[in-house]
Symmetry: C2
Subunit: 219 residues, 2 copies
């Protein structure tokens, strides 16, 4: 039973709240029973009351009190690919990145590919928002490869009008800045009313649902 | 210029972090220039460096540092209605409630109706996640009214197979518990792969997109 906050495993967990340490060590933290159950082989797992005093575990939790179990895992990255996948550019909110990893797991067969300016998918918030999908479908890095379909609120064509030829990569940008000009391929918008835009995770869900259906219908 | 943390307006803002005080006073807080710009007539607005010392404003922020402006507003509730609207039951996460308010503003003409067990839509996190849609389309309370379509991962029929007759209310439950048996009407599921479910805000986006399109096609 760990009874000191100077324990090396607790120190590692504390470090892994920081992206620089996650990048350097190639590790990340998952908190909570459901995530640890969904996880691959851990480096180590600490359970409150079994391996560590509950207060000490709570102290290193990144997500607030009530965490009874924390696992530390090695990062694995996928390769870009699949008939349908997602490319994110400048999506800086970790909750959105994690939510899109989860949605893509349910609706696409390829990974989420992370371009420049995206939140770290291995951050505690992103891992939590992925609800275990970060383990089942780890993200990829680099350039989108395939037929690119850029979501662009100012595009002329609506989502329902563009071709859905696999391998298809849905490209989504930051909510304010959008995608850079350099991201080529088709552009389409989701038809909406009112002056408001959609949240990037909501937009990703809609696009993947629509394209998955279209691909299923056309074989 | 406010220079004391005992100022009555700062005290009010601090109280409004607590749901009981929000309910009692019928007020809520919006933080940040974009939200305050989107807001209706405020009870009062405090700007850092103009009305209040920046550190004192940061101290009463519910969303962390960097807030330069905070507005306090009276809560307004809508009445249920519209050709297409959403009913939430037991959706306890304020970020999801706010995100669904935003998505419904873009894709539906009716308000989000909040049933039992939902997060307070006037909480700082929900207001932030709504990105101003809480002002443009305030939520409603009470029972869903109209043709009910319950989203249910165990339903036999897929979303594409159910009728979309207005007035239509999409009913969504908590991610784990789902909807209670008492919520009648059609049941449908979103076809997904893998063992994972969809986040409730992602599911809401997909259902509203699909039904909005179907209603538009059929007049």
């Amino acid at each position: 039973m760990i009874t000191s906050k100077d324990n090396e495993q607790l120190k590692t967990i504390r470090k892994l709240q920081d992206r620089r340490w996650r990048d350097k060590l190639g590790l990340f933290v998952a908190e909570g029973e459901d995530l640890v159950e969904a996880g691959w082989q851990p480096e180590f797992v600490l359970r409150a009351g079994e391996d560590v005093e509950p207060d000490l575990l709570a102290d290193v939790s990144a997500l607030g009190s009530g965490t009874r179990v924390i696992g530390v895992y090695r990062q694995h990255w996928s390769e870009p690919g699949g008939r349908l996948s997602v490319y994110l550019h400048g999506v800086g909110d970790p909750g959105n990145v994690g939510a899109i990893v989860r949605t893509a797991h349910a609706l696409a067969d390829g990974p989420v590919v992370l371009g420049p300016g995206c939140a770290d998918p291995w951050s505690p918030k992103a891992v939590r928002a992925s609800m275990g999908s970060i383990f089942a479908r780890p993200p990829a890095r680099g350039e989108p490869v395939g037929n690119l379909l850029a979501l662009d609120p100012s595009a002329e064509r609506e989502l329902g009008e563009v071709p859905a030829e696999p391998p298809l990569v849905v490209c989504l940008g930051a909510e304010r800045e959008g995608l850079p000009e350099g991201i080529g391929g088709e552009r389409a918008r989701i038809p909406i009313d009112g002056p408001e835009s959609l949240n990037v995770a909501a937009a990703a869900a809609i696009v993947l649902y629509e394209l998955r259906n279209r691909m299923a219908r056309h074989g």
